[in-house]
């Protein structure tokens, strides 16, 4: 007899149940139960933000080389569990689940390489007209909320998470069933606890919470719904969150997605003896 998995949440490196005790049923096309996923509450989200904030400084300070290696490690572990994800995603009706998992692995490898390159690409030494050494370089924005693509699949989630995390931010992401299995990959890939926190739940309920939280610095919203966008941008105004709105699908990889969650810092120092 098969032993089905209990899908919980992923907060601060642990797998807690939702404090709310609520579930969302996921059923296949025949109406057969696949899983009861946790329907995360506002409180779960807020606890995730606390975990993400706690992890943010250490992750931002980790060397780019280390971040790149951890990203590559995630890809390795995911490759090792490819069959599991193909089966799980196929069960949820994902067409060509193999291609989806392969795309997710490729995205991780791609962004692993960006970890120690985007800074140089977007930095500058500025020729100011005074006797100063002046340079500008990107630094991570902080804690980023991610409303991942709504359809089941891994590539969409990874395409949204990877540019946020590789840039040294920590995040809380709202995603779908397989995100919780992906959390098992993250948990065994040397990603520090709290850097990625993954929730499942109701988008309409949680998008406003992501947008209004005062200790979230930025929001990546994957949505084609203009009402979502308007609501999120209105709520985000209170602490001037940076908001990037992307289509509800797999994001084409680009260093500019990394830059969306970076702040440029400029440093001046006099030159002289």
């Amino acid at each position: 007899m098969k032993i089905p998995k209990t899908y919980k949440l992923f907060i601060g490196g642990k797998f807690p149940r939702t404090e709310s005790g609520r579930i969302l049923e996921i059923r296949d096309a025949q109406g057969q139960l696949i899983a009861n996923t946790a329907r995360a509450s506002r409180k779960d989200f807020r606890e995730s933000v606390v975990a993400a904030r706690k992890a943010a400084g250490g992750w931002a300070d980790a060397t780019a080389y280390l971040k790149g290696q951890i990203f590559y490690r995630i890809a390795e572990v995911l490759q090792g569990r490819r069959a599991q994800f193909v089966e799980e995603l196929s069960g949820q009706g994902v067409e060509d689940a193999g291609a989806d998992v392969d795309a997710a692995i490729d995205l991780l490898v791609h962004y692993a390489g960006w970890s120690d390159k985007f800074q140089a690409l977007f930095s500058s030494v500025n020729p100011v007209a005074s006797s100063h050494f002046n340079f500008s370089a990107p630094s991570p924005t902080g804690v980023v909320g991610v409303i991942a693509p709504s359809a089941p699949g891994l590539a969409g989630l990874v395409s949204a998470l990877a540019p946020v995390i590789v840039g040294g931010n920590s995040c809380v992401a709202l995603s779908t069933l397989s995100a919780i299995s992906f959390a098992e990959v993250l948990a065994t890939s040397d990603v520090p606890a709290g850097v990625v926190n993954l929730l499942t739940g109701d988008r309409a309920e949680l998008i406003p919470e992501f947008a209004k939280h005062m200790d979230v610095n930025a929001l990546l919203l994957c949505s084609d719904d203009s009402a979502d966008q308007r609501l999120a941008e209105l709520e985000a105004a209170e602490n001037l969150k940076r908001v990037s709105v992307q289509a509800d699908g797999v994001l084409v990889p680009s260093p500019y997605h990394i830059l969306d969650f970076q702040e440029v810092k400029t440093t001046w120092h006099p030159v002289g003896v």
Binding site: N126, V128, N134, S136, A237, L240, T266
Partner: protein, 483 residues
């Protein structure tokens, strides 16, 4: 008014002359290359004398509409079609014309806004010209600025600027917008419209095609009309965080691009191993430059405990030599507070500082009777929770706190919703980099303060704004990128 009411008898008056140019009695709106009379006018007043300098047009919905239409027409028919190198030549020409008329612009800036002539002459006007000159060169090189992406203009840009650096802010906004191929509707601040209008005259002299830049003067309502205009593709705003948030809300869901340069509460951190005399000069420049009407002003001073008494003593001694008075006098260090409203805000916060238990110190001396003035002020005994530590005062008021360890300084410095700028004073290189990388601020000055350059990006973290202005990184504010 004698020029040294504050420090009597120290220096002979050295007023800048005002007879080498003439100001008009009234200025209209600059729309579509023409001067358009508005239905109503308002007065712009010299804050050092309370005298009316001129009247300017108050742009309403109709005028803003006309201006946006003119900008759209200029974008579609001329500016977006012009070879980029030609666009650049107009900007070079504007930079040159501004350099030629720098003296006149400096005097008008000091008359209209109250800032010392030494600052408008040596900083505001030369930097404004430098912004045009710098961005002129970008016009035909944008393809190199965005690796792997293709930049295109955004379209019509609506820009709203503050009263603390009137011409410089106009240049910060207009120069990159035009270089990147956009057309502009600019709204100067209500209390300082003159140099932007004179800049429009200079655009005429430069032969800039009609409608490429339109100047609509007015107050908050005019700015709001511009920001919310449906045919504006991008909004650029410099001003208070409260208004910035309101603008962000009004743009929610519209898909309009925007950049915001908002308030600040910069920490200026002095370590015991700093060159103390230089640090004291840096503290003075950090908070008293432009009467403290500076979003990146070093308004929170953190001094390491072991040198706190020494630094404060030297600072007070230095503050006793600051000359407060006639903005047009070349000896003046601190000019007039920009408006009665701003003076009232400063006074209210200073009162709150005293009521909450901080200890106020000001140098001796009397202030001029007419006009808006405030003495350079420092507070000791400040707590992190005091309003004078948390809120932007935008005046010559410094709140001093002490610290023991670098970590304590970092924690206190970052404990604010703002994140525009910061300062660090120490002779130890590794400590500088530890501090500058740990401060959550967009611009960090180490062993210097309040330096600006068109090649150097400027802008804030957190609630100090979004986006950068100036330098390579500032260009993306005025380009759409095709990835």
């Amino acid at each position: 008014m004698s020029s040294h009411d504050f420090i009597l008898g120290s220096y002979a008056p050295a007023p800048e002359s005002t007879d080498h140019f003439s100001l008009k009695k009234s200025y209209d709106l600059f729309i579509g290359g023409k001067w358009i009379k508005a239905a109503t006018q308002f007065e712009t007043i010299n804050p050092a004398t309370d005298e009316v300098i001129a009247t300017v047009g108050l742009a309403g919905k109709r005028e803003v509409n006309l201006a946006v239409k003119a900008a759209r027409k200029a974008y579609d028919s001329v500016w977006s079609k012009m070879p980029a190198a030609e666009r650049g030549k107009y900007l070079f020409r504007i930079a040159r014309l501004l350099q030629e008329r720098a003296r006149e612009f400096a005097v008008v800036e000091s008359m209209d806004g109250g800032k010392p002539i030494r600052e408008s002459r040596d900083i505001d006007i030369p930097l404004a010209a430098a912004h045009f000159f710098y961005h002129a060169g970008w016009a035909d090189k944008l393809a190199y600025a965005f690796p792997g992406a293709r930049p295109t203009p955004v379209g019509v840009v609506g820009q709203v600027i503050p009263w603390n650096f009137p011409l410089l802010m106009a240049a910060w906004k207009i120069a990159p917008a035009l270089a990147c191929g956009n057309t502009v509707v600019l709204k100067p601040a209500e209390t300082t419209p003159l140099t932007a209008l004179k800049l429009a005259e200079l655009f005429e002299d430069a032969g800039l095609p009609a409608g490429v830049v339109n100047i609509v003067t007015g107050a908050g309502e005019t700015g709001q009309t511009l920001v919310e205009h449906p045919d504006v593709d991008k909004v650029a705003f410099t001003g208070s965080t409260a208004v910035g948030k309101a603008i962000r809300r009004s743009l929610a869901g519209t898909g309009k691009r925007f950049t915001l340069e908002l308030g600040g509460k910069a920490a200026n951190i002095v370590f015991e191993d700093a060159a103390i005399n230089e640090a004291v000069e840096g503290i003075v420049n950090g908070i008293f430059f432009n009467q403290g009407h500076v979003c990146c002003a070093g308004s929170r001073l953190f001094v390491q405990e072991s040198v706190a008494d020494k630094v404060i003593r030297k600072l007070q001694k230095r503050m006793e030599t600051l000359i407060v008075g006639d903005p047009l006098d070349k000896n003046t260090d601190i000019g007039a507070i920009n408006s009665p409203e701003q003076l009232a805000r400063i006074k209210a916060l200073v009162n709150a500082g005293e009521q909450e238990g901080a200890c106020l110190w000001q140098p001796e001396g009397t202030l001029p009777c007419k006009g808006n003035w405030f003495k350079p002020t420092l507070f000791t005994g400040c707590a992190q929770s005091h309003r004078i530590v948390q809120e932007e005062i935008f005046g010559p008021v410094l709140a001093i706190q002490t610290f023991r360890t670098p970590q304590e300084a970092i924690t206190k410095a970052n404990n604010t919703p703002y994140g525009l700028s910061g300062g660090v004073w120490t002779d130890k290189g590794s400590k500088i980099f530890k501090m500058t990388t740990s401060l959550n601020a967009g611009v960090v000055w180490a062993n210097t303060f309040n330096k600006f350059d068109p090649a150097s990006p400027f802008g804030g973290y957190k609630e100090s704004g979004m986006g950068r202005e100036g330098g390579l990184q500032g260009l993306s504010a005025y380009c759409n990128l095709e990835l």
